[in-house]
Symmetry: C2
Subunit: 704 residues, 2 copies
């Protein structure tokens, strides 16, 4: 094993002029990380300790010791840079962590963990493999996301995440299992907590998201871009200290449900917590557990809590002060972060207790001040009100497609700024990590005072995974296949050819599904109503109109999926939202207000109605004089949608074949002229290799 | 109503030099038919009689009186030559007859039939409409199947069929309802039955099927062509007379089950029949019911029976004589028919009691002799051993797609030659009518003696209507869509590119479905085994190999279908049948004898196996050294076929995406080299407008 000679490391730039030098830098960064990780585990003084389940929601440390090595191999196999497994058993056991496990979803599986010696041996094997790969891999600069070097950096940064999470688990391990270690020494300063105060911050517009021009490794969730208007607020000068939080504890804050969210109350009940996780109360004295030792509660160090506790404190504090006290949002935190103009790897020294450049513990909350504000970054992570979500433009990295997407569920809140143990990407400006709100890390919080009771967070844009809905989102907004043009667009283009130019006209998109034709119609009509029977489908049209974005996951093969996002701006529909209303409704029983349309478009509707004749016999009532009814359908009658005695065609009547077009002529012929008819093809993707390819019949009927 | 002035009519030629003359000829033929039909009903002396259900398996006569008129309107609507219904209620009630109803499938529905006056009025309306259409329709010569004149002829010939079937029903009506009519007078000659004898007929090859060059109207089932080698036989000089049949009756033939087929026994039990349907036994005397009168049983007239009775007689006769006595097949009857060199409409007088040219009843069986043989045509229809089937080349007429196809079920036997009441197409050489074997018409039989106990009939090529099987037949043998080449062909073409030319090689087509790839492989290999798990599918490959033909019906829209036929000769596979064996089998558990293959092709198989790993781990045992395994699949894993824990890919393993190709490499990589990989697209038709369009992945593996 190579020895760790230099404590401080920095994530490499992706750019450079010398490939050889970059290769050496990456190799150095790899070994530094691999060794620093092992040096943390060197603090453990017995093999037994590796198998202790210090925290019931996490695997024992042996898992994490093996996991970061396995990750390299698994990703290299996936990227086809490695062709054989090194140790199938270890690579299976050490593959999947339980970081996302909830307190209400305990894992009681029995694991027959490998020995420490075997795991060490495995780590050494992997070290050699990765070293050899770094030596031999093709490399050109700058490094891009499809380069093998990016995968190496992914493995390294992944290990740096676990360097910190493992240090958190070690804080839960009995001290008898741990020895002091010169590289992992705590801060020795502690004193009285400074009195907090609120500093005014001007309102401003901030842009979130890591620009692709920033030349360091980033996780997928950091990219994309979002601009947010931030209202003025006042922010606490200091992170909440142990001393400040003690008031809440001593005021009975953990015993009074009213400060806690319902999720927080559930957690309190489950854990029976009465104080922060790393405090202990003994013989009339509070103590704090650090990585390798315990000390009297350092009142001027930041308190370490989960989101639920931080939120409860704010609610209590708001009640105490009569002010709108809460946690910052991601955007508000970014306003503060922007007061620092430096970032890893460019700084010569970290502008806070960060990147293992100062202590292997927290330190007083007044140690690092910048323009009157302390601990803008570092010391402990700062919980935010924002559940993590991808920014517009978010794209999943194909070789780690479940790093972020499972956390876009509204249950994972972001924390920002990094802790003393945050290194590499974690210590960078754009880092975005999110955990379940009950989780512990080296994390605390800063509060702010807002003018408004409202918390300016948007609902999370979760991935639609309902297979049918996602299939229709792809059908309406996704890629084209077999060179068949987008169907809702092609339908609208086609119907416009058969209708005169209408001024200030109103259109109804009946059976609008996820809404694409409504947007396309809104390019040409003053107002469009989009109506669908299924709220499950129409919610996506509504969400696009309201937020400009929607997301979905579509199958590629078997249970595997790919992740997609669409935005109104990419579709060229940015200015149309005001012209469209999406409403749930029944085409066979429309509310009276849906009338006076110049055009009614029914895309793939009639063979999905429970009573198509009822619909067709009354639809003229909704049209203006001379108005148009446009039907498209492949006439795929199915008894699950339409009882057979209601089919318009595709049946024998008195022994003779009757087609749906015959049925349409019979029902509509009296009131309408059939002015045009044409085929419109469409393709619906089922998997990466399987599609429905269909020819709809479009008929254009004008009211006589 | 126009009066019938001329009794004898002939079906028009489709050819001619004067359009005006042809129009006049068709108009005349139409009115003659319409009037002759009404003149038959004129024999009925009370309205009440129209509503009597003389035969429980048939509608009352009012239905038939209206039906032939409705048929004109329905077909003209279907052909878009008529645009409005004349009387919706009548056209619904008179649309569907029950000629196909079985004695074991009684119709007990209640019908509220229209009045006779309304029906007469309706007939008059239709007469005017059709007359006007004949006057105005576009007409060019020769008349072809897509011409409106063809539809008019279809309506006329349809009415001529019912002229005869109605006369049969009237023979079941109590005599009190009927008056004598000069145009419908029975033969008055009757006497002792002549003694039958057997005349030798030389073996010969006959061609069945109406050539398209024959310039008269024909039903769809008459066209196509089939060549049959007929062995020498001896044939009865006379149709079986009442006198000859009386021996069977008096010998207790109706009481002795052993002469009857099992179907015949069921019919006997249901009806309790003890003699032919038109006989009556009263006061020690047998009587025969004719159309309008009853007479002492005319012993020298042909007996009228259904197939079941005719067959029982032959079995009894065979037993009596110790010879192979049976009914003729269609081909054997055709050998006899070929002794007459004339046909309608060319003859000046009918060469038998046919076409209403002689009597409105049967006549003595020795009245019309030709080269020693009597009643080659006419008098009564002659039952055959042949169940009706389409000839190779059969095509359904699109405006009457259920005239023949429902009768290709092995339960409808042909009768030939026509009766005294057969006119128009019925009286022509190529006419092919078939009824359920228990049905009564003016039908009897002639027997023959064969050298062999075997009856030379082939199983009926029924239409496959199972939707999935028919879909696969179209997929393998049918049309191409979206310009995507035929898939089994494309797969074989592609795999040949990746494998060296193999001499005297053996191939296995595993998962062969309906067998196209097996035929295609047989073009290049000395022997091919086609194996599929499903007997339902593989039977069609087997049928193609054995008979050269297979038939299926595929959905167009809703419940409507189109009918398809494929033949080995059209596909260019005529010479291959001997090289292929089709066998039912399980790919995961193959019998030992399926081995020593130079190539194994598995088209769309692996994602349909219950244990694909088991299959892949053993398939090398079936290959010769250096042999090839070719897999194609879209990797559409479904739990209904393969339990999820058996999927080769499309799953997460240890948290990482594993594709099916990854899985194949893992399982096959040790024993095989992957020598080629390419996409092969395919299209499966679901309806006329809806298709599955899929990209299979083809991988070619060579045994190391």
């Amino acid at each position: 094993m190579e020895k760790l000679t230099e404590v401080v490391s920095k994530t490499p730039l992706l750019t450079g002029s010398s490939v050889a030098a970059k290769r050496a830098e990456i190799r150095n960064y790899f070994h530094h990380t691999f060794s620093q990780y092992e040096s943390l585990f060197d603090c453990i003084n017995s093999d037994e300790a590796y198998y202790v389940r210090a925290e019931p929601l996490r695997h024992p440390l042996i898992f994490y010791f093996g996991h970061t090595a396995v990750f390299f191999i698994n990703k290299l196999l996936l990227g086809k840079y490695q062709h054989q497994r090194v140790n199938e058993r270890l690579e299976s056991m050490f593959a999947i962590g339980v970081d996302e496990m909830s307190w209400d979803d305990l894992n009681s599986a029995h694991y027959d963990w490998p020995s420490l010696a075997d795991t060490r041996h495995y780590r050494n094997q992997v070290r050699h493999i990765v070293d050899a790969l770094i030596t031999d891999m093709p490399l050109s600069l700058p490094i891009t996301q499809d380069s093998p070097a990016w995968l190496i950096l992914m493995g390294i940064e992944h290990e740096r995440i676990h360097l910190e999470t493992s240090s958190v688990i070690m804080r839960m391990l009995p001290l008898k299992y741990l020895d002091a270690h010169p590289q992992w020494a705590a801060c020795s300063q502690a004193g009285v907590a400074p009195t907090n105060s609120l500093l005014p911050i001007a309102g401003q517009t901030v842009t979130l998201g890591k620009p692709s021009s920033v030349a360091t490794y980033g996780w997928d969730n950091e990219y994309g871009q979002k601009t947010v208007d931030v209202a003025p607020f006042k922010v606490a000068k200091f992170l909440v200290s142990n001393g400040e939080f003690l008031d809440f504890v001593q005021a009975g804050g953990y015993q009074d449900a009213k400060w806690w969210t319902s999720e927080g109350q559930g957690w309190l009940e489950f854990t029976g917590a009465i104080m922060p996780r790393f405090w202990r109360y003994q013989h009339g004295e509070y103590l704090q557990r650090n990585l390798l030792q315990e000390m009297p509660l350092p009142l001027d160090w930041p308190v370490e809590v989960n989101y639920l506790e931080a939120k409860a404190f704010c609610n209590w504090k708001a009640n105490q002060t009569g002010r709108h006290i809460r946690l910052p949002t991601e955007a508000e935190w970014t306003v503060l972060r922007n007061q620092l103009d430096t970032d890893q790897p460019h700084w010569s020294q970290a502008p806070g207790n960060l990147n293992l450049e100062h202590y292997a513990s927290s330190c007083p909350v007044n140690r690092f001040e910048h323009q009157g504000l302390c601990d803008i970054v570092g010391n402990v992570w700062q919980w935010t009100e924002s559940a993590i979500d991808g920014f517009p433009g978010f794209e999943v990295h194909p070789l780690y497609d479940d790093f972020s997407t499972p956390t876009f569920d509204g249950q994972h809140n972001l924390f920002k700024g990094g802790s003393w143990a945050s290194t590499g990407n974690e210590a960078s400006r754009y880092a975005r990590y999110a955990f379940r709100r009950h989780f512990f890390q080296h994390a605390g919080f800063r509060y702010l005072e807002s003018d408004s009771a409202e918390v300016p967070v948007e609902p999370v844009n979760t991935y639609e995974t309902d297979e049918l809905v996602a299939q229709y989102l792809e059908f309406h907004y996704g890629d084209t296949y077999f060179n068949v043009p987008n169907y809702p667009q092609a339908c609208v283009q086609a119907l416009l050819k058969h209708t005169p130019e209408l001024k200030h006209a109103r259109a109804l998109d009946l059976g609008c599904s996820v809404g694409r034709a409504s947007f396309e119609l809104a390019c040409h009509f003053d107002h469009v109503d989009g109506i669908d029977f299924s709220a499950r489908f129409i919610q996506h049209g509504f969400q696009l109109k309201e937020t400009g974005h929607t997301r979905f996951a579509i199958p590629t093969e078997g249970e595997l999926v790919e992740f997609k996002e669409v935005s109104l701006s990419d579709l060229g529909y940015s200015e149309l939202a005001d012209k469209i209303d999406f409403v749930q409704g029944d085409a066979c029983n429309l509310k009276a207000r849906f009338s006076d349309y110049d055009l009614i478009f029914c895309g793939n509707l009639i063979d999905r109605l429970y009573d198509p004749s009822l619909f067709l016999n009354h639809i003229h009532e909704r049209l203006t004089a001379g108005g148009y009814l446009v039907l498209t359908s492949p006439y795929t009658w199915l008894e699950q949608y339409t009882p057979k005695d209601k089919w318009l065609g595709g049946i024998k009547v008195n022994g003779e074949n009757v087609t749906t077009l015959d049925g349409l002529r019979r029902l509509l012929g009296e009131r309408f002229n059939l002015v045009a008819q044409q085929d419109v093809p469409f393709v619906i993707r089922e998997t990466r290799r399987k599609y429905q390819h269909t020819l709809a019949d479009m008929t254009v009927w004008q009211l006589k």
